[in-house]
Symmetry: C2
């Protein structure tokens, strides 16, 4: 199925999206010039704004007419996302993101840490303005879990014994949890409690699929992944699903080489590792898992009434899956 992002996913909420995009910029106000400069830099470096779009689509899929509050929520989601990216780039010592210099590269780590803190605080500040206690609790718990996922990832770095279960905990925290906040938060704000759970389930499984796909692309050389290089994860000794699965499917020298590469990091054995990963059937397993997660996500949507918005959420999940097919 050919899916076009703009036409099939963005178009149904294009007007609200445009207003939301303006709001992201307006939401970042500070008397401190450096705060403004860095915040603008990182927010403008944003990608497709997939998370706020999910938030807006979820609201419409719940049957909400007026998205005034949801546009703010969507902007808050993007701000939180940006804050985590800014800190991630410090943690990963990244110089580029989506082809643009990162905040830590343009300024320095110090600035990136503190402006990231500002963005987290500002996101909460805007969230408080929505005056919804249930939403606030969901977000305050959720952001704890996101931070925990990031630390768990760090804790698992260079650990060849990392299990698939731990990997799933990591990606749930670092990726899926914010997806969940974007959609479940929308239902909370709409007062549509009956759609909270299915929208959370959709987002959680879609998030898992999205991250597994991202991790597959790190080992497939024909990937058109802007700003991401083949072997980045291996370089950092990150035990992602392709490696975890390859370890399960191999013995002897191949097995030992993967273990060693996770433990030490670096890409000196990248070509050999890619070959082992591919020959072991690990990528097939990852593709199967990503496909399963996508279908579970789409299944959850069936508890919502049929609409062009629900269809757009479905297509969003399928579009991500297209990247590995």
């Amino acid at each position: 199925m050919t899916i076009d992002f703009k036409q099939d996913i963005l178009a149904p909420v294009a007007t609200d999206f445009a207003t939301m995009d303006t709001f992201i910029n307006e939401g970042i106000t500070s008397k401190v010039a450096l705060v403004m400069a860095v915040s603008k830099h990182v927010v403008e470096a944003g990608g497709k704004r997939m998370r706020p779009i999910m938030c807006l689509l979820a609201a419409k899929a719940c049957g909400t007419e007026d998205l005034e509050k949801h546009r703010k929520l969507a902007a808050i989601i993007e701000m939180l996302h940006t804050a985590t990216l800014v800190h991630d780039d410090v943690v990963d010592e990244s110089g580029l993101r989506r082809g643009r210099p990162t905040a830590n590269a343009t300024w320095n780590n110090q600035t990136a840490v503190l402006v990231g803190d500002f963005l987290i605080s500002r996101a909460f500040d805007l969230l408080v303005d929505l005056e919804n206690m249930v939403l606030l609790k969901d977000f305050s718990t959720g952001t704890c879990e996101i931070a925990e996922g990031e630390v768990l990832q760090l804790q698992s770095q260079h650990q060849p014994d990392t299990t698939e279960a731990t990997y799933l905990d990591i990606i749930h925290g670092k990726t899926s949890r914010l997806f969940e906040l974007a959609t479940e938060g929308s239902a909370i704000l709409s007062g549509k409690d009956q759609y909270r759970e299915p929208l959370k389930r959709y987002a959680g499984h879609f998030g898992n699929a999205f991250q597994i796909i991202d991790d597959i692309l790190d080992y497939t050389s024909d990937a058109e992944t802007l700003g991401k290089n083949i072997g980045d994860d291996l370089m950092e000794g990150k035990p992602t699903l392709p490696l975890i699965s390859a370890l399960q499917n191999t013995v002897g020298d191949d097995h030992d080489l993967i273990r060693k590469s996770i433990a030490t990091g670096g890409t000196s054995d990248l070509d050999k590792i890619i070959q082992i990963v591919q020959n072991s059937g690990a990528l097939d397993y990852c593709r199967k898992r990503a496909t399963e997660e996508t279908h579970t996500a789409i299944q959850a949507l069936h508890e919502l009434p049929n609409s062009q918005y629900r269809l757009a959420l479905e297509k969003l999940a399928l579009l991500a899956l297209n990247r590995i097919q």
Copy 2:
């Protein structure tokens, strides 16, 4: 006047303090071992817990009997304080704090950044549980201003033209704002709106005095400042009040040397700079300003009913001033 911290300041709220201290530890729960280990490390490295004590004293000074919620608020304040210290140590590349290895030194910058994020999120999570919208707004705005103060400090590093007004903005953000949240927050939680403003004024001016005193101690060699070394600020090119004032009082070579030292950082000229600062009358001016701020702080307390708790807050401000007398 001889003031004893334990007897004069802590004693009136000792029981609540003990419960609060337990709550800080209980409030930090995580399934992720590394989150627990780092959080415990940094929270246990805490000092006198001055901010939570201020929070408890303020509650009692407002006439509040049951401090159950205030104990939680006090723990939240300390958690936020700890989170900023963890990130500060990354920013300042500090290896020691209060004589103990910092989180970034014990683990690494990455861990410190992410666990700091966790502590900020966890503090907000506990704050949401207090279910007070006014308090939430005060804290979400306040934490933005704290982050802005930190960035402003970074922006002013190595800038010899930094004015006293900018310096005051910096210390308000990095120090006084959290003091304000500790005391004004207490009044909000007590439903004593009439005491919000005076308690905020007390804390704001006390915070200013506290930071000016800290900055004086960085240039006085007989200081018994645990974990802080003479010349730390000069090393980092921080234009604190002693230098700003010395610049105003000097001309020629002395003036130029201070400007150069701020611009470049480093402590190669430390002895000479200390001499210039002392001879210029800058430290006298700083002491005068700290004394003024302390008296303005105490003045504000007079709008509260007389009590042993109000007296303890007064003594707390005077105790800080004793450090430079």
